[in-house]
């Protein structure tokens, strides 16, 4: 069982985001593994374990040869990674990103299963996994919240508007998994040391044969960036044991009780 996990390295979400001069998200500082992707990495490791063999590989697209987030996933137990890092990729839209990651997965020789998060925590376009599946001609199960593999067939519970669907899907396939689907492990000290020497194959968009990319390949152009009207803060009080009365009075004032 060989599994490829798509991982994104993003600016620390604890820090406020900012745009650069081209209205792209600033990604020049240290990047970290998107927490949403740690669930996919964990699931891949568990599925490979359950299958009794195989390995977990990573694909990622990031500026400045960034590997900090990849090393976290490698420390968790992934074996190797393909990193696509290329200044030409700045400004790429989600479709171009999907083409790049699909090509990176093919560079790894494909896999029995490709796993992605439902959306990244910085750009959150939420289309890349399903776009990759279409590019690679694979069946897909998005928003999977429970996954198992038995006899080459994947079974998943997929989130729907009204509840969930049980879905079966033959391999190879692609899935996107919701956060909380498994409990991501913390990298061990041994894992962190081992990750330093695991292979990261760094390539350019041209190595993958994907053109056009970046601003030129995006079917969109940012025309303006404005500040939204700010919502003003109201009254803030410390609870002295009677603050519940304030809430009752507030609700009465709104005539909802």
């Amino acid at each position: 069982m060989n599994i490829i996990v798509c991982v994104k390295q993003i600016p620390d979400p604890a820090n406020p985001g900012a745009l650069d001069g081209n209205n792209a998200l600033k990604r020049d500082g240290k990047l970290i593994l998107d927490e949403s992707d740690s669930y996919g990495v964990e699931m891949a490791l568990q599925l490979v374990d359950a299958a009794g063999g195989g390995e977990v590989s990573l694909v990622s697209m990031a500026p400045n040869s960034e590997t900090a987030g990849l090393r976290t996933a490698l420390a968790m137990g992934a074996a190797k990674a393909v990193l696509v890092s290329d200044p030409a990729l700045q400004g790429s839209d989600a479709l171009t990103t999907a083409k790049i990651l699909a090509a990176a997965a093919q560079r790894l020789g494909g896999a029995d299963l490709i796993i992605a998060a439902t959306e990244s925590s910085d750009g959150y376009t939420g289309t890349v996994p399903e776009q990759m599946a279409e590019i690679l001609g694979l069946p897909s199960v998005t928003f999977a919240k429970k996954v198992s593999i038995d006899g080459g067939v994947l079974r998943a519970d997929r989130q729907t508007e009204d509840g969930y669907d049980e879905v079966t899907c033959p391999l190879p396939a692609l899935i996107s998994v919701t956060a909380g689907v498994v409990e991501p492990r913390y990298p061990s000290f041994k894992g962190i040391m081992a990750a330093k020497s695991k292979p990261v194959d760094e390539v350019k968009a041209s190595d993958l044969g994907v053109t056009p990319v970046g601003w030129d390949g995006a079917g969109q152009k940012i025309t303006s960036v404005t500040q939204a009207e700010a919502r003003a803060a109201g009254e803030v009080i410390e609870d002295d044991g009677e603050a519940f009365g304030k809430i009752v009075a507030f609700l009465e004032g709104l005539k909802v009780i």
């Binding site: 839209d93 999907a98 009204d162 909380g180 025309t223």
Partner: protein, 320 residues
């Protein structure tokens, strides 16, 4: 050309189009041109409802046990290849909507812009507005390259208004051979029963977060929601922790709510949560950390322990 031919993908839930879908049909008809709506399933059952909001045609895709994404996108592509090509396709940000738009985007080699809250048409040009950084910044993006332009919208971006028009005509569209992409099959459908008003339609929403401390304390949130005849919601943190199902989540990845009153109990106000609730008319926040970002947008903020404030509040309301 102008934007003459608009398609909307409508999500059907509980036998009818979702409110988010009707919002898009309403907006589409205001952009001029004709509006055709696509549904996954039998078009005839929703032709009346969709027609009333301005759709003149409904394409129904009988997708059987397939997943909607590949089946509907392939059916759309077959109609486009046969000569009926839209200038603009609007999608709700629903589970099926996302799959369909992503597959179609690749089939047409066109970008798809998601998370929008507004759209404007000027001549041939289509510009969408996307809030970023928790809604503090608005980005306007114009499609370049050729039509069809593909855009997805957050729920509650537009007000749904019936035009009182007649039922739409219905055209059934077959699913082309999907090859490997059609091998994922639904084998069982589970509907999660909920009591009380739906989270994204309730007039009052009470949400709980990590500040509740432990899973069992979520009961306080449910009790308060019940006494206010509202719906209980949750932050991503406690959904990820498995305290409540995913369907309770308010925020970027969950539901967008705009109730008259939103009560945030033990929620600090991460960007991902604020995006889903900052459109509420009135916001009440209870949190023990007075520096919590949620107080920056609350109309009434209580710096205190939810375990002390909520029981007293519930008791006071029950006694009325």
């Amino acid at each position: 050309m102008a934007i003459d031919n608009i398609w909307v993908f409508a999500q059907v839930s509980n036998g009818g189009p979702t409110t988010a879908s009707l919002e898009l049909v309403t907006k589409a008809r205001s952009l001029g041109g004709s509006v055709a709506v696509w549904v996954a399933g039998d078009g005839s059952t929703v032709a009346g409802a969709l027609g009333a909001y301005g759709a003149t045609k409904v394409y129904g895709v009988d997708y059987g046990s397939n997943l909607a994404g590949s089946a509907v996108a392939s059916a759309m592509k077959s109609v486009i290849d046969a000569g009926d090509s839209p200038d603009l396709v609007m999608f709700p940000q629903s589970y099926e909507g996302r799959d369909v738009m992503s597959r179609l985007s690749v089939k047409l080699d066109r970008t798809v812009i998601t998370n929008n809250t507004d759209i404007a048409v000027t001549g041939d040009s289509v510009t969408v507005t996307t809030p970023i950084f928790g809604g503090n910044t608005l980005v306007s993006t114009t499609f370049t390259g050729g039509a069809p332009y593909l855009a997805a919208f957050r729920p509650k971006s537009f007000a749904p208004e019936s035009a009182g028009s007649a039922a739409a005509t219905v055209q059934a569209v077959g699913v082309p051979d999907l090859g490997a992409t059609g091998t994922a099959k639904v084998i069982a459908v589970h509907v999660e029963e909920t009591t009380g008003p739906k989270l994204d339609e309730a007039d009052i929403v009470v949400s709980g977060g990590r500040g509740l401390g432990e899973s069992a304390k979520y009961e306080l949130v449910e009790q308060l929601a019940k006494v206010l005849k509202g719906a209980p919601g949750a932050s991503r943190a406690i959904v990820d922790a498995g305290w409540v199902p995913y369907s309770y989540q308010v925020g970027q990845t969950g539901k967008v709510v705009k109730p008259s009153v939103y009560i945030a109990a033990g929620i600090s106000g991460a960007t991902q949560h604020m995006v889903g609730m900052k459109g509420s008319k009135n916001i009440i926040a209870i949190n023990k950390d007075k520096e919590a970002p949620i107080f920056g947008i609350a109309d009434l903020g209580i710096v205190g322990d939810v375990h002390k404030v909520l029981p007293k509040l519930i008791e006071a309301l029950q006694g009325r």
